[in-house]
């Protein structure tokens, strides 16, 4: 009796410790974004929305937020289109060294963002492309393309192959097969790839930091705010970033996984 109660206690404490470990930093961040005082450290003095007001009134933060959304959505769209085309080609045609090609496409996932950023930085310098949000976008395509390719490729089965064959048999040209049959059929995994890469691009820092100059994304702007010290305003903007990521994941869950479950 005692031992069963003890093991129950143990498992509960493990559960609490585990979730605490994962969520405590975020909880602290969000809590002190409401701090009625100048420092986001204990003791907690009371609740105020003042810092959120400052965040939304800060034109630099707001334009960085706009930039982040633009880069995230734009680069994810490009990564999805490229990933879909690559997956379609490799799944549907006999290509030379297709195993090697698949490996090369997925390989960037194992390379650290820092190395990718450095490589791109020297390439842009060499080619003579000046740094801007475009170069950040290109960097995010580089890191998200392998992800999009892997997700979409994994969902292309032989059953769909036969359906594509039927479309061709009924007179569809190759581009019509891709746009009217394959892409709609694979939409759940394409959307999953899209929302995941938006989330990754949204809070990516190193590439965005090294490949941007005047216009920057939100994580880079937050980093420059942090250089002037901790401040509940940084907590507030951090909470906003977190909230958007959560919202994206919820959308992913609701739209994509609901849809697949229904089928």
């Amino acid at each position: 009796m005692i031992s069963s109660r003890f093991s129950k206690l143990l498992s509960w404490s493990y559960l609490i410790a585990l979730y605490g470990f994962i969520f405590l930093p975020v909880a602290v961040l969000v809590l002190f974004s409401f701090q009625d005082g100048r420092l986001p450290v204990p003791p907690f003095n009371g609740v105020t929305l003042k810092w959120y007001g400052e965040v939304f009134a800060d034109s630099r933060l707001m334009s960085a937020l706009g930039n982040s959304l633009m880069v995230a959505i734009g680069s994810s769209l490009v990564a999805c289109v490229l990933g879909f085309c690559a997956a379609y080609g490799l799944a549907r045609y006999v290509l030379p060294a297709s195993r090697l090609q698949r490996g090369l496409l997925v390989a960037p996932m194992t390379v650290s963002y820092l190395i990718i950023a450095l490589g791109l930085l020297s390439t842009f310098n060499w080619v003579g492309i000046s740094l801007s949000l475009w170069t950040v976008g290109i960097g995010h395509v580089v890191i998200n393309l392998p992800l999009c390719f892997a997700i979409i490729y994994a969902s292309m089965g032989d059953h769909q192959k036969n359906i594509e064959r039927a479309a061709r048999d009924l007179g569809a040209a190759e581009w019509q097969v891709m746009t009217q049959v394959s892409a709609p059929m694979l939409m759940p995994s394409i959307l999953a790839a899209f929302f995941l890469s938006v989330t990754f691009s949204w809070d990516e820092f190193i590439i965005a930091f090294l490949l941007s100059r005047f216009d920057v994304t939100l994580p880079v702007e937050i980093w420059s705010m942090l250089r002037s010290g901790l401040n509940p305003k940084t907590n507030a903007v951090g909470s906003v970033v977190f909230l958007v990521s959560v919202a994206l994941l919820l959308i992913l869950e609701l739209i994509v996984f609901r849809r697949t479950a229904k089928k």
């Binding site: 048999d169 007179g171 569809a172 040209a173 089928k263």
Partner: protein
């Protein structure tokens, strides 16, 4: 829309494997042709050559007199009904059926009207707005048929379309397929390994084996006057009695078999080129055994002992062992009212007109299959 198909000396090899070996076949416009054979006989390869999904290693395929050599599937006057239906899961039935017309740039209203007409033909008009996953197997199959017919192909290719259905539904769909084919007049080329299905729907059956055509003809001819041992045994139960051709005259034929000598009408020869002295086999279907007394011509193959029997409703099915060759097992159908007594001796009596003389002796396995 309908058109004749001409296949001349078509050969298809995959590496060392010859899937189709010098096959020639003429199909008339509006015919319902069934390619019948066991798996691996080349029937699906032949269908893929017609649809353009494979190209022949050698030989010519013409549809409506036009060489299909370099014509991709999309440009061919053929459509295919696939075994797994291959419906577009994200489209309504209406859009599925209208897809081919959309690819042909038919205006939206027109193609939707046409799609609904076809759905009406297959009895699914009320479900036009549903998605394929809401349908049963038989309904999906009907949609696949409507979709393939919507573009008014000259030739419809059906790749074992009834294979996934249960027996009752399959028989029902056979009747529907045949009725629809008669109505639209399109040339149908249908692949199956089910000989009952083939007989029920075909105008002509093409029996295939090991990449070659064994036999071509009306279901009645293939069943009752097969041209090869394979064709005879694939179409249904048959007894093979090996022997030698003794003499072939204009009127009658003398044959010596393991069950004794018999004289048969000249029409029994499956192949007129057979010469005296050649090895031959008598093919006798179980239902062709007759009572020893009665009207009409009769011949007998000696006595046989009844080993066992079972009742099948329309007949009794009995296994017999002949007196002259006790190792052989003969399967015979006897009348409903007959009394089957194991151990009793009866005469092996047949109507000579129902016997077919085929060239060659059955291989050991073929004989076992027949038994």
């Amino acid at each position: 829309m309908t058109a004749p198909v001409s296949i001349r000396n078509a050969t298809k090899t995959f590496g060392d494997f010859t899937a189709l070996d010098d096959v020639s076949l003429e199909i008339a416009a509006g015919e319902f042709i069934v390619l019948l054979g066991p798996s691996g006989c080349g029937k699906t390869t032949l269908l893929s050559l017609l649809g353009g999904f494979l190209s022949p290693t050698k030989g010519v395929i013409e549809i409506a007199g036009r060489d299909m050599g370099d014509v991709p599937p999309a440009r061919r006057p053929t459509t295919t009904m696939f075994q797994d239906y291959a419906l577009f899961p994200h489209m309504t039935l209406r859009d599925n059926v209208a897809f081919g017309l959309k690819m042909r740039n038919v205006a939206k209203r027109e193609r939707q009207t046409k799609a609904e007409e076809l759905l009406d033909m297959v009895g699914l008009k009320a479900s036009a707005g549903k998605k394929p996953h809401e349908l049963s197997g038989g309904q999906r199959q009907r949609v696949a048929l409507a979709r393939a017919l919507a573009v008014e192909p000259d030739v419809l290719l059906l790749d074992e379309p009834l294979g996934a259905l249960d027996l009752k539904l399959r028989r029902q769909m056979q009747d529907e397929l045949k009725a629809i084919q008669k109505r639209v007049g399109t040339t149908f080329v249908h692949v199956t390994h089910d000989q009952e299905e083939a007989m029920a729907i075909a105008d002509r059956i093409v029996v295939m084996n090991a990449g070659k055509i064994e036999d071509v003809g009306r279901p009645e001819d293939i069943y009752m006057r097969p041209r090869t041992l394979f064709s005879a045994s694939f179409m249904g139960e048959v007894n093979f009695i090996p022997g030698t051709l003794e003499a072939a005259g204009n009127e009658s034929i003398s044959v010596k078999t393991v069950l004794g000598a018999v004289t048969l009408p000249n029409a029994a020869l499956g192949d007129q080129a057979l010469k005296p002295g050649q090895k031959i086999t008598l093919a006798i279907r179980p239902e062709h055994f007759r009572a020893s007394t009665g009207t009409g011509p009769r011949i007998t193959l000696g006595k046989a002992k009844i080993e066992d029997g079972s009742f099948f409703g329309t007949h009794h099915r009995a296994h017999l062992s002949p007196l002259d060759y006790p190792n052989m097992v003969i399967t015979a159908h006897m009348p409903q009212s007959a009394i089957i007594e194991p151990g009793a001796w009866i005469d092996l009596t047949i109507d000579p007109a129902s016997v077919v003389i085929l060239p060659g002796h059955p291989a050991a396995t073929a004989q076992e299959d027949a038994a």
